[in-house]
């Protein structure tokens, strides 16, 4: 038994961390978030050199053929940099949908392009996973989609869409009628409203695919929150070692040290939970859904605590736009709600154990 990242996984973590620090330093993230740049395609292209778009795509289709644990390790690094990338939709969820439910033709057509980063894919499953808001929903008739989805992931500018209809059935759609950015607190990850008007679509075959997609999404969102939280902790510790008040660095005040210790005490065990949830997705199917739900809900809770606490340690400057600390605060806020807030997800965790009807 070995419950630790392998050398390869550690290397992946380090290389993604290093690449994303170069490709998306804070000023680049800021320009994107402020809408001064609408496309972050260069970041994704840069990450393609590491094989990130094809991380989970089988080698036969030009990918690396790795598992969700590797995806979680990468997501942690990406979340640590609040990087604008289509990783969740294009590199995790769409490839999963295709490998689980795509025909050989669909796979051959899309997977190599997604793996090389030449095409990107978006995913619209919010209604099927977390419930429909404001009348959203998609119906399929004679191979065409009608209606609209909210909170589409990485759907803007995507070449391919994976869409769940009102019955939870999954479709591949190539060209949506219209996508509109849903402006949110976290502009480093844009969400879309996707409108279908007789859009041609092909069904995916697997009935389990949606469950697997949801579990994978929960784990990846949790891993991002782990990374974002870890960065917020590190920033707080670094700031506390520099900032002086009353003639000494604030990090020598016990009240401040204890806030930092509490953040670390929450994050450290949570890291193990995220790893295990990802491992279960790959290797222990009977535990996968429960662990994914717990990882998502738990990281949402401690993510909020860390976001608030790190900001507090920074004092007034944490509240301003100057340091950009708020980008991590907001990413944590966004991930908490996406694809189900903690109460909803915990209700699900109870259900899969037979503790709720």
């Amino acid at each position: 038994m070995r419950f630790a990242l392998s050398e390869d996984q550690k290397m992946l973590q380090a290389s993604v961390g290093k690449a994303i620090a170069d490709l998306a330093p804070l000023d680049r993230v800021r320009r994107y978030a402020e809408g001064k740049e609408t496309i972050a395609a260069d970041i994704w292209a840069g990450l393609s050199d590491l094989g990130l778009p094809g991380l989970m795509i089988p080698e036969a289709h030009g990918g690396l053929g790795l598992g969700l644990l590797e995806a979680a390790v990468a997501a942690e690094a990406l979340g640590g940099a609040v990087a604008p990338t289509p990783f969740l939709g294009s590199a995790v969820l769409a490839p999963l949908a295709l490998t689980l439910g795509g025909t050989p033709e669909q796979q051959a057509r899309w997977l190599p392009k997604l793996a090389s980063g030449e095409a990107t894919a978006g995913v619209c499953i919010a209604e099927a996973v977390a419930g429909a808001r404001d009348g959203a929903g998609v119906v399929a008739k004679d191979g065409r989609l009608e209606g609209f989805c909210l909170f589409g992931l990485d759907a803007q500018d995507a070449d391919l869409l994976v869409v769940a209809d009102r019955d939870g059935k999954l479709w591949l759609a190539e060209r949506p009628a219209e996508t509109a950015v849903m402006s949110s607190i976290d502009e480093t990850r844009r969400l879309s409203e996707v409108i279908f008007a007789g859009t041609p679509a092909e069904p995916l075959a697997s009935n389990e695919a949606l469950t697997r997609l949801r579990d994978a999404a929960w784990v990846v969102l949790a891993a991002e929150m782990l990374g974002a939280g870890q960065t917020m902790l590190e920033k707080a510790v670094a700031y506390a070692k520099e900032r002086k008040q009353f003639g000494r660095v604030i990090g020598s005040f016990q009240a401040v040290k204890h806030l930092c210790a509490e953040m670390a005490a929450e994050l450290e065990p949570a890291r193990a939970l995220v790893w295990y949830a990802a491992y279960a997705f790959d290797h222990a199917p009977e535990e996968a859904s429960l662990m994914a739900a717990h990882a998502k809900a738990h990281l949402s809770e401690i993510g909020r605590f860390v976001a608030r606490t790190s900001t507090e340690v920074h004092g007034g400057i944490g509240m301003t736009d100057l340091l950009g600390l708020h980008y991590w605060f907001k990413r944590l806020g966004q991930n908490r709600q996406l694809l189900g807030g903690p109460e909803k997800v915990r209700e699900y965790a109870a259900r899969v154990q037979g503790l709720a009807a």
């Binding site: 070995r2 630790a4 510790v237 939970l273 717990h294 709720a356």
Partner: protein
């Protein structure tokens, strides 16, 4: 990451299962019917004192973290008692193994493991709690002996103990961390008085202990004269690990789930109340996080890598979590949760109520939550130490 079991390990798991199956009649709901007999049985089969050398009364197996984990998991699954885990077994034995003399190991480890000798831990004093190194109990030289005088407090099980492992000041002029010795002596030595302190649980779990010219041979010092601070820290490391043990916490969570599934209020099962269910799920996530964190620690121990922060947070998080589990059980029981003394409506012999109160003590004992946070921030995050007060 690889959590699959080899065929050898799968066989070992079957062995443990078969053992527990065969001895099912010797315990009840986590309690052995005969504590000492059960302990002997566990040692003989390698389920207690597993890696302690045979020469000292252990089972003498090679350390194998995976096997230890399998044992723990199977005992939890079967709700079987883990054997004696008092302060002697959990703290003194590992300390003696690390720093005791050959004679001390031969004399004390075996009887302690078998539960024949009960120990108490004499560290804290009225003026030396968190600031333990300022302890004042003095040991004055008298030929080959020390004469020990002073007072200890919060001494758990001193009223039942045969022996004490005790911190005394042997070098009054040395700096405070360097003048302390770690010494063993019988509680029947003349000059010792034990006065029970009743806690909020209504039981006397700990005591005040007074020493007046207690004569103890110098040979009873463990790890060298003046080295007591170092020796005690060896013990405290073991105490912290024990106090945050995620396996015990998982067993408790399972009991809470059972409770919530079976208890009804106004005809409704507690588990069917979404508010209680949500609290349960929040705690379950925490228990899993601690459990998997424990697996990280096992791997770190196996590969000899330092565990860093993952190890430093165990006591703080684990003790708090235990207390929250008990708190949810009390809330789930509602009015029944305020009953305590024996009566027809009391559940689980009042264990939840006792845990709820006693666990508060465990948040304090073995280093308070604040002291744990000092350790995490200073040793784990590299933050500055409190500046020491200017000497007056």
């Amino acid at each position: 990451m690889d959590l699959t079991l080899t065929p050898e390990m799968a066989r070992f798991r079957d062995e443990v299962r078969a053992f527990l199956q065969a001895h099912r009649s010797e315990y009840d709901a986590g309690q052995p019917k005969d504590v000492l007999a059960w302990q002997r049985l566990l040692i003989d089969n390698g389920y207690a004192a597993r890696t302690i050398p045979k020469a000292y009364g252990g089972y003498g197996a090679e350390p194998d973290i995976l096997k230890s984990r399998i044992i723990t998991e199977e005992f939890i699954r079967a709700d079987a008692p883990r054997g004696i885990a008092n302060q002697g077994v959990s703290m003194l034995v590992p300390t003696l193994l690390e720093v005791g003399s050959e004679e001390q190991k031969k004399q004390w480890i075996g009887p302690t493991l078998r539960g024949e000798v009960i120990w108490c831990q004499g560290y804290s004093e009225p003026g030396a709690g968190s600031d333990l190194a300022s302890l004042q109990t003095k040991a004055i030289e008298a030929g080959d002996d020390f004469l020990i005088s002073g007072q200890k407090i919060w001494t758990s099980t001193a009223h039942q103990a045969d022996m004490i492992f005790c911190l005394v000041r042997t070098e009054p002029d040395a700096p405070k961390h360097e003048g302390i010795s770690y010494i063993l002596f019988p509680m029947t030595t003349p000059g010792i008085e034990v006065r029970p302190l009743t806690t909020m649980t209504g039981h006397a779990e700990f005591n005040e202990v007074f020493f007046t010219d207690v004569r103890v041979p110098k040979a009873n010092v463990v790890g060298g004269r003046g080295r007591g601070w170092f020796v005690a820290n060896t013990t405290l490391k073991h105490e912290r690990g024990m106090l945050g043990d995620p396996n015990a916490t998982e067993a408790r969570l399972n009991a809470l789930i059972e409770l919530m599934k079976t208890e009804t209020v106004g005809g409704e099962r507690i588990i069917d109340n979404p508010l209680f269910r949500d609290r349960l799920m929040q705690l379950q996530a925490r228990v899993f996080a601690m459990k998997f964190n424990g697996m990280r620690l096992l791997t770190a121990a196996q590969t000899g890598e330092g565990a860093g922060l993952a190890g430093l947070v165990v006591k703080l998080q684990g003790c708090e979590l235990n207390h929250q589990i008990a708190a949810l059980a009390i809330d789930a029981l509602g009015e029944l949760g305020i009953l305590y003394h024996d009566g027809p409506h009391l559940r689980a012999r009042g264990n939840w109520q006792r845990n709820y109160m006693f666990d508060l003590g465990l948040i304090i004992g073995g280093g308070t939550a604040q002291i744990q946070k000092n350790i995490i921030s200073e040793r784990g995050l590299g933050m500055p130490r409190e500046p020491s007060p200017a000497k007056a």
